[in-house]
């Protein structure tokens, strides 16, 4: 299974000019994602996790270090990544004037895929995304979980080799969140995509990903890399094992150390 990485970040740093000096957001972030892997980034809030995704997506360029995105044999570096990854931001960002179907096909439409073909492809996936019968509904008629699944469908349909998920379940209530995690595990096995997931939920990171990168507080560095040894297919029940608890504790130790939380 070990193939060349789809995504390779090497010593990425990012700083913004601010007021008098500069604001250093990322100090030293190196990570690799291989084909078919889902990798999680976890860190204290405000540590720059979303900036990492913005840099990967090509919305921003790193101040130093390099980003290599290898898809279909070609490697794109600076200034060429826009349009090569599917980015799902924290908010669902559905266009309120478009129906479920209209929102889902947005990525394909932007790439110039014919509307008829795009619709067909979206319709074929509605069932998998728990949206059958809702193709013609406007987003404001949907629940939070459903809106999030429409955003997911839009992301997956965009047909990019790499998917970036920025706290996709952050805004959902605990129960919907657990359902969505289970659903994502199921989905991921089926679509075989490569992905980077940003989360602040240790359990979610362990449950969903092959590897967890624990980031420090701003400016972000990779503090720890945890390979998750849990077997696939995963299930929520694994969260109750001692192995899981030990992993969770080790990650929380690093995170709490960052935040200065006193150990009992």
């Amino acid at each position: 299974m070990a193939s060349e990485p789809v995504l390779q970040l090497t010593a990425v740093a990012k700083a913004y000019a601010s007021g008098q000096g500069e604001l250093r957001v990322l100090q030293d972030v190196s990570l690799a994602v291989r084909r078919g892997e889902l990798v999680s980034l976890i860190g204290p809030s405000g540590c720059g996790k979303s900036t990492v995704l913005n840099v990967i997506a090509g919305l921003e360029e790193p101040t130093s270090g390099s980003v290599a995105l290898s898809t279909d044999g070609t490697t794109s570096s600076d200034g060429q990544r826009l349009g090569r990854v599917a980015y799902m931001p924290q908010k669902d960002l559905l266009l309120p004037w478009r129906t479920v179907l209209g929102n889902a096909v947005l990525g394909l439409e932007v790439q110039g895929v014919g509307l008829k073909l795009a619709r067909q492809r979206a319709e074929a996936l509605l069932d998998t995304f728990g949206l059958s019968g809702f193709a013609q509904e406007y987003p404001h008629n949907l629940s939070g979980g459903m809106r999030q699944r429409v955003a997911f469908l839009r992301t997956i349909l965009a047909d990019k080799p790499l998917v970036l998920l920025d706290e996709p379940f952050g805004a959902l209530d605990a129960l919907t969140r657990a359902e969505m995690q289970a659903w994502l595990l199921d989905l991921w096995a089926g679509v075989g995509r490569t992905g980077v997931l940003v989360t602040h939920d240790v359990e979610e990171a362990l449950l969903l990903s092959h590897r967890v990168y624990v980031l420090s507080a701003r400016p972000a560095r990779v503090r720890q890399v945890v390979e998750v040894p849990l077997p696939w297919p995963r299930s929520r029940r694994m969260a109750a094992t001692t192995e899981f608890a030990a992993l969770k504790a080790s990650i929380l130790d690093v995170l709490w150390d960052q935040a200065g939380v006193l150990h009992a």
Partner: protein, 285 residues
């Protein structure tokens, strides 16, 4: 897969979006009837008071006399109304074109935002009625000065609302589309234009009401036709009923224009109205 578990909560929510039909009809009828009943009562009171106190007709004619004047002068009124309508339509079209153009410049060109926007606002502090006579001197006695006055009065709400709408677009939405590989033009067409349409229509509705006022001001200052001209001619001759009849026609013109815009809005923004209805029913708190 997990389909059935998902379908249930969503399905009930959507069902709530359509309330019971009879209740909705009754509400709709009442919505139209209530203001009409009030209007009828006020008109009746007016008729009664004028008759009881025997007010002279040149001072305040009863509604029945106004109705009579309306019928007796229908050809005259129609002829002048046509002129005013042309002024309103032309001025409104000019306002729409310049308003949308300026809004685009303000939203996407920093220099224009800095330089033009303050001037646009300052232009509204100039009393139109003061420059209307100057327009007459500058461009002549015909339709043009009226068209300019209408445009000057109605371009402002269009510019301000449209510019606000274009700038209100969520930058994250723009980022999301760019990350999918969208060009600037695609972002503009797929997000910024549809997102600003509700704002644009709000501006157009205000402009529609104001544009009729503009035409009348233009005609008062100097004209040879139009409802404003007719009023200026009739008032000093104490043809007060005719003045009122002209006011009625003007008001009808304004209402017609407003309804036209509101209808276009309804067609263009079906999603927006359905969202407002959902909000009214407390679907999405």
């Amino acid at each position: 897969m997990l389909k059935s578990a998902w379908d249930q909560p969503g399905a009930t929510e959507v069902a709530q979006a359509t309330p019971a039909a009879p209740g909705r009809w009754r509400a709709a009828i009442w919505q139209w009837l209530a203001p009409l009943l009030l209007l009828a009562a006020l008109v009746g009171l007016w008729e009664l008071l004028v008759r009881v106190f025997q007010t002279p007709r040149w001072l305040l004619p009863p509604p029945s006399a106004i109705g009579h004047a309306l019928a007796a002068n229908s050809a005259l009124l129609a002829r002048h109304a046509l002129v005013t309508t042309q002024e309103v339509a032309a001025g409104f079209a000019v306002a729409l074109a310049t308003g949308v153009g300026l809004a685009l410049a303000i939203a996407y060109w920093r220099v224009a935002a800095r330089a033009v926007y303050p001037l646009v606002i300052a232009s509204q502090t100039i009393p139109i009625i003061a420059i209307a006579p100057l327009l007459l001197v500058w461009v002549g006695y015909d339709l043009r000065p009226k068209v300019i006055v209408v445009a000057l009065i109605s371009f402002f709400p269009i510019v301000v609302n449209m510019a606000d709408g274009l700038r209100a677009v969520d930058p994250e939405m723009v980022n999301m589309l760019r990350s999918l590989g969208a060009s600037r033009w695609q972002v503009f067409r797929k997000v910024q234009v549809p997102g600003s349409l509700p704002y644009l229509f709000s501006g157009i509705k205000i402009a529609a009401a104001a544009s009729v006022i503009g035409a009348v001001i233009g005609e008062w200052v100097g004209a040879s036709a139009g409802l404003g001209y007719l009023m200026v001619q009739a008032a000093p001759r104490f043809q007060t009923s005719l003045v009122f009849a002209a006011v009625l026609v003007l008001s009808a013109l304004g209402i017609a224009l407003f309804l036209l815009v509101a209808g276009a809005e309804r067609l263009a923004l079906r999603w927006h109205h359905s969202a407002k209805r959902a909000k009214a029913l407390d679907l999405n708190p």
